[in-house]
Amino acid sequence: MSVAGSSRRFALAGAATLAVLWLVPFYYAVSTICKSTAQYLSGTPLSLPPSLSSLPGNIEAAWAQTQMGQGMLNSLGYGVLGAGGAVLAAASAAYALARIVFPARTTWFMVIFAGTVFPFQIYLIPLFQGYARFGLLNTRLGLLMAYMAICVPFPTLVLRNHMGQIPRDLDEAARMDGCSHFRIFRSIILPNSTGPLIALFLLQFTWIWNDLIFSMVLTTETAQRSVMNALMVFQGNYAGTTPNLVITASVLASLPTVAVFLLLRRYFMQGLSLSVHA
């Protein structure tokens, strides 16, 4: 009893420490966005703000200086189309790899999966040079294509495993019902994969939304840059911005992904279990 009790107390203490460690930056962000520049500079970084009155001004200034509206719109487009397209392409590939017997099936899978083996940064220089040659630099299509290509391999791996677990009898029953491969994919396999599809969409959307490096390398103009790239106006020798505005802009830029997660978390949790209930 005492051993069990002390180990439980130890676990609780550990959990509480981790929770505090996690909450400190969170508290720092929330308190900082409520301070004016003067308030921030006059107190310690973790001091409580005197009131919430500085918050609207911070939001207004951060939004205007970063031209966040344009950045968010761009990122929304990249995120929805890039993650959606990638997950759909990955689902098609996964269906073929999991359910259709064709020559060199494993080799094809390895070719696709190889995309996750190397760090993405190694693609930057060849991608930049190739884009420059084909006129894709500073285009939304160019950045979208890069995001979509990067986001295909991981969902392919996950969906191939998931689709491999869906009973094969379902395909055969559908074939008896007169379905083509495309119809089986559309009417049987996809509806039974909604959990993983949404979970993967969320993961890839978040990755695209949070990406900075590809947006920085492949776009230089406000019209095409992503929201994270928009935050870069606060960086540099002459930016002259205080942390309250930087943090406000960062929090604003993070809110859409939090909102998407909250809206779709049920599917996200379902998707993580990656199971099919017949």
Partner: protein, 368 residues
């Protein structure tokens, strides 16, 4: 309603042949059971008839049409799977209707067929449920309904009762049989359970290692098994086998027990090495059941009993092995108790010891 004809069907998986030159004619409206142990090729044969597997050789005809290369949906067959294979994301109604939608059937036609199938299978109250909200028996009925709405020429059942408990299985056996009697559609039913085959089918096809071992009515394969394999496979408890040799008009077993040869093998030559088959039904306990016309009595101690209520199975030593007898209207029996048994000499089976083939004279009458 067309029957099914199979000519020289073969199936190879890599270097291994699982179906060897199968010839089979299934008449219109027949209820045929393909039975055999696991791996005998019965499911593969069914899947080739369904179009889910491509034969490596041979032809399949449904009616007079060669359907060997046709896709499954264009063969006029419908299949009920062992796992039911209901679409988990669809309601019962959608499951029933899906095939008709894919085929492009008009709404009125779809409604008519789905309603008729639902009424026939007592599914009307379950139409908006998902498969996960149904019991095993209900799922089974939906699976049958899904096949039914397609109004096929041939129904294919792939061990559809194996996932049900014993009580439900017995109930579904009757339902499927009743359905066949109503529709008179050709049914091909795969099972490894010989009781299922015996009780439901009007023709039984016994398979082993991709070969057809015997085809006949349930009574025929039970009473006149073509070989030792069929004899052992059909009947529960299974037929017990005892090696022996023919001496004059008798069969002498390993321990010297001599039994008069039954009439249907009276032609066997002196010295023929044989295997005698004895079913529990043909070995009765004196005083418990009707004695045979030509009995051969012997006494033996009881080794083991299996009380089944209406009868008790009794295991006793016989010819250096063990035999099983049925004790009708049973009384309590203790192991070690000596009982008097009677073998029905007219009903013993005799097989060639080497080939395993039945040695019954072709013209010999049935054992009924």
């Amino acid at each position: 309603m067309p029957g099914v004809t199979i000519e020289g069907l073969q199936k190879w998986y890599g270097g291994s042949q699982v179906i060897r030159d199968l010839h089979l004619t299934i008449p219109d409206g027949a209820f045929v059971a393909l039975v055999g142990p696991s791996g005998c090729g019965k499911s593969t044969t069914l899947r080739m008839i369904a179009g889910l597997e491509m034969p490596s050789g041979g032809r399949i005809y449904i009616g007079s049409e060669d359907v060997t290369a046709r896709p499954p949906a264009k063969r006029g067959v419908a299949m009920v799977f062992q796992s039911y294979a209901l679409y988990p994301h669809m309601t019962v109604r959608d499951n029933l209707e899906f095939g008709l939608r894919v085929a492009g059937a008009k709404l009125a036609d779809r409604v008519r067929r789905v309603t008729a199938a639902a009424e026939m299978l007592h599914l009307s109250d379950l139409m908006e449920r998902r498969p996960s909200q149904l019991s095993g028996g209900q799922r089974q009925r939906v699976a049958i309904g899904r096949a039914l709405v397609r109004e096929p020429s041939v129904f294919l059942f792939d061990e559809p009762l194996s996932n049900l408990d014993a009580q439900l299985r017995a109930a579904m056996r009757i339902e499927i049989k009743r359905l066949h009697q109503t529709l008179r559609t050709t049914v091909i039913f795969v099972t490894h359970d010989q009781t299922e085959a015996m009780t439901m089918a009007d023709t039984i096809v016994v398979m082993r290692d991709g070969n057809l071992e015997q085809i006949g009515s349930p009574l025929e394969v039970f009473e006149r098994p073509a070989n030792r394999f069929v004899a052992g496979f059909i009947g529960a408890p299974s037929m017990r086998m005892f090696d022996g040799r023919v001496e004059q008009d008798r069969m002498v077993l390993a321990d010297g027990t001599a039994l008069q040869l039954p009439g249907h093998v009276a032609h066997l030559a002196e010295g023929t090495e044989v295997t005698m088959g004895l079913r529990p039904e043909d070995l009765v306990v004196e005083g418990h059941g009707t004695l045979p016309v030509r009995p051969c009595f012997f006494e033996a101690p009881v080794l083991l009993t299996e009380p089944l209520g209406n009868e008790t199975l009794i295991v006793m030593p016989f010819a250096e092995s063990e035999a099983v007898a049925r004790m009708y209207r049973p009384r309590p029996v203790a192991p070690g108790e000596v009982l008097r048994f009677a073998v029905d000499l007219d009903r013993i089976h005799v097989f060639d010891q080497k080939s395993g083939e039945s040695l019954r004279r072709a013209s010999a009458p049935g054992q009924t």
